[in-house]
């Protein structure tokens, strides 16, 4: 939990840094300011995370700072977190994990916000069913799509096998395949992102 939120904040910070740099490039002519210090930002991110803030805002020229802890984070603290020392996590736990980091913001929960904003320009094709993800129609066949290809709404992008049935999944949008989130043969759950499409 803290790891993912730490990395989410780090991403946020990089984004902030990136934006700043862009801004600087644009503004350098007019302002002649030195570049923004990334180390400071990294430290900041650490600090923000350490104190359990869920939101942080910072604006330069005429400093503007915003730190915030939204109630969801505090509620999480009271959620009993069993520490299964006697019961080690099984390898299969991976099924739930990718979802937690890259779920669509369908439920509007805080956890999905960083992921959503990190991929904000990508449309996600999610699995409509629980099953096993296959990129091609057979072990010796070519994948339906690869990164970089263009898809139309009716393009078949993959198969999700459920109860011995091969369900062909269509893209449903027009655009370019930019990300493939799931490995061939991996189990997927309902709503799990499969592809990132740049429309």
């Amino acid at each position: 939990m803290s790891d993912s939120s730490a990395s989410a904040i780090a991403k946020e910070m990089e984004k902030q840094g990136g934006k700043k740099d862009d801004g600087k490039a644009g503004r350098s002519g007019s302002h002649g300011e030195p570049s923004f210090n990334m180390d400071e930002l990294r430290e900041l991110a650490e600090m923000v995370n350490e104190h359990g803030f869920t939101d942080f805002e910072f604006e330069n020229e005429n400093i503007r700072v915003r730190l915030s802890k939204t109630p969801p984070a505090s509620a999480v603290q009271y959620i009993p977190q069993p520490q299964p020392v006697a019961y080690a996590a099984p390898p299969g736990q991976g099924i739930a994990q990718p979802q937690a980091q890259a779920a669509p913001a369908a439920d509007g929960s805080a956890a999905s916000v960083p992921a959503a904003s990190a991929e904000e320009e990508l449309h996600q094709i999610t699995s409509p069913i629980v099953g096993t993800f296959y990129r091609s129609s057979g072990p010796d066949k070519e994948p339906y799509v690869k990164e970089g290809v263009q898809v139309a709404p009716s393009t078949i992008v993959c198969i999700v096998e459920a109860m011995k049935l091969m369900n062909e999944i269509e893209a449903e949008v027009t655009g370019e395949v930019v990300k493939i989130y799931v490995e061939n043969g991996q189990p997927v759950e309902y709503g799990q992102p499969l592809f990132g499409i740049r429309k």
């Binding site: 109630p71 509620a75 779920a103 929960s109 629980v130 099953g131 309902y190």
Partner: protein, 450 residues
């Protein structure tokens, strides 16, 4: 003796019963897989299980009732068995059959037995054949006033006339003597016709003040069966149980043994296996009549666990592995008295659902108190599912002490942010007739809720 190894179980349920099953699995060293809808991402059963799979959108039909999705989840997580809990697919013969076909052990009886007990007419017929007393009367439509009269005299007054297509009290008429029979029959028929576009009615013995008594059974897959005594479930509102007790304040040891023997015998006759419950109506004279059989674990199973010290879920799993029953009838003595209050997210007077965020939640501790819940401070009760958020169970040497212990526990229990049935339970506990054990299924109608 074990025929089938169960190393990993998928629980096709949510809420407290999913947690309850996970607890016992942990105690048995069995891995667990939780399934959940999109609305239940933050649910406790998801956190406590070793693995979790999202199986669909919030509405039950798309998730907890979605058989292909659940079977797929079972296949990708490679489980040995599925525990259905109660509600949802727990009494779906179709689901049990699909599990069987997919070589996943369904933790419950065989699909044929589930189907048989799920059919009202078939269940009644089977029970009559197995020597289980049923309410005089029959669900066949009455052809004529003459037939009604003949039947009524056979059954004995009072009788109740019910719409064959009916429900919800419409088309129902209580008849206390032969004089009123014909006129009441006509009234019921026209009411039934108006309400259901079907004038067919049937008659049955009417019990003025019945008690709802049920017998818990455990049967293994080798023909061994025992009963765990009875539960008193008469405190209901619109056929929804509100609180349950074990033992019943009115059942004698002789009655217990008789009802238990009837249930055990019936299980053997129909080849029942796993945990099950026979629901009976008890009349004022102490006669009992079969109503229905629940082929799954009940919400109220903890009161039986408290007084017998048997873990019913553990027994279900052991039976599913093909093992013999762990104990004989003599091992199961009933000790003390247990009461369970169902704490629902509901307005305690109007019984309207009260979903929302729980801002404060404190569960009572101390001697003889057990709480089964999937709720925590900050949890948001979703509007999609059953409103029960916790079960508060107490155990003491006597019924009197159990009632005062429940009063103390209800006082200590804190749920803020939503309305609950806690105030209602306090009212029931303080009621003189409840305290005296003098009540029937009509209790709630007669209780002043001001």
């Amino acid at each position: 003796m074990s025929k089938r190894e169960i190393r990993k179980i998928l629980i096709s349920n949510r809420g407290e019963i999913a947690c309850r099953i996970i607890w016992t699995c942990k105690e048995m060293g069995i891995k667990t897989v939780a399934v959940h809808s999109e609305a239940d991402r933050e649910a406790l059963h998801v956190r406590y299980a070793d693995e979790a799979v999202c199986i669909g959108a919030a509405p039950s039909a798309q998730s907890y009732l979605n058989i292909p999705s659940i079977i797929s989840a079972a296949e990708i997580t490679n489980v040995d068995a599925i525990h259905p809990g109660y509600g949802f697919l727990a009494e779906s013969a179709t689901f049990a059959k699909i599990c069987e076909d997919c070589n996943i052990k369904f933790i419950g009886p065989r699909p044929e037995v589930i189907a048989m007990m799920g059919d009202k007419v078939e269940a009644r017929r089977t029970m009559v054949a197995a020597g289980v007393p049923v309410l005089p009367g029959s669900p066949d439509a009455i052809e004529s006033p003459e037939e009604a009269k003949r039947l009524a005299l056979e059954i004995g007054f009072p009788i109740i006339v019910k719409a064959s297509a009916g429900g919800g009290g419409r088309g129902m008429r209580i008849v206390r003597s032969a004089d009123e029979l014909e006129s009441q029959l006509e009234l019921a028929q026209s009411e039934a016709l108006a309400a259901f576009k079907n004038g067919a009615v049937y008659i049955e013995r009417y019990i003025e003040r019945p008690r709802h008594i049920e017998i818990q059974v455990l049967a293994d897959e080798h023909g061994n069966c025992i009963h765990l005594g009875e539960r008193e479930c008469s405190i209901q509102r619109r056929h929804q149980k509100l609180l349950e007790e074990a033992p019943s304040p009115v059942i004698t040891q002789e009655q217990r043994e008789m009802m238990g023997a009837v249930a055990v015998n019936a299980c053997k006759e129909i080849g029942y296996s796993n945990a099950g419950t026979f629901e009976f109506l008890l009349d004022e004279d102490g006669s009992f009549y079969f109503m229905e059989m629940n082929t799954r674990v009940q919400v109220e199973h903890p009161v039986t666990e408290m007084v017998t010290l048997a873990d019913i879920v553990r027994n279900q799993i052991r039976i599913a592995t093909g093992e013999d029953l762990q104990y004989s009838q003599d091992d199961l003595q009933i000790r003390g008295h247990a009461i369970e209050c169902r704490i629902n997210a509901e307005d305690p007077v109007r019984f309207t659902p009260s979903p929302g965020k729980i801002t404060a939640f404190n569960i009572p501790g101390g001697p003889g108190v057990r709480v089964d819940t999937a709720v925590y401070p900050g949890y948001v009760v979703p509007p999609y599912y059953d409103s029960m958020i916790a079960k508060l169970i107490v155990h003491a040497r006597t019924r009197e002490t159990a009632i005062s212990r429940m009063q103390r526990a209800l006082d200590m229990m804190v749920v803020e942010g939503i309305k609950t049935t806690i105030p209602l339970h306090k009212k029931i506990m303080a009621d003189k007739r409840f305290q005296a054990g003098d009540f029937s299924t009509k209790f709630m109608e007669e209780l002043s809720l001001d």
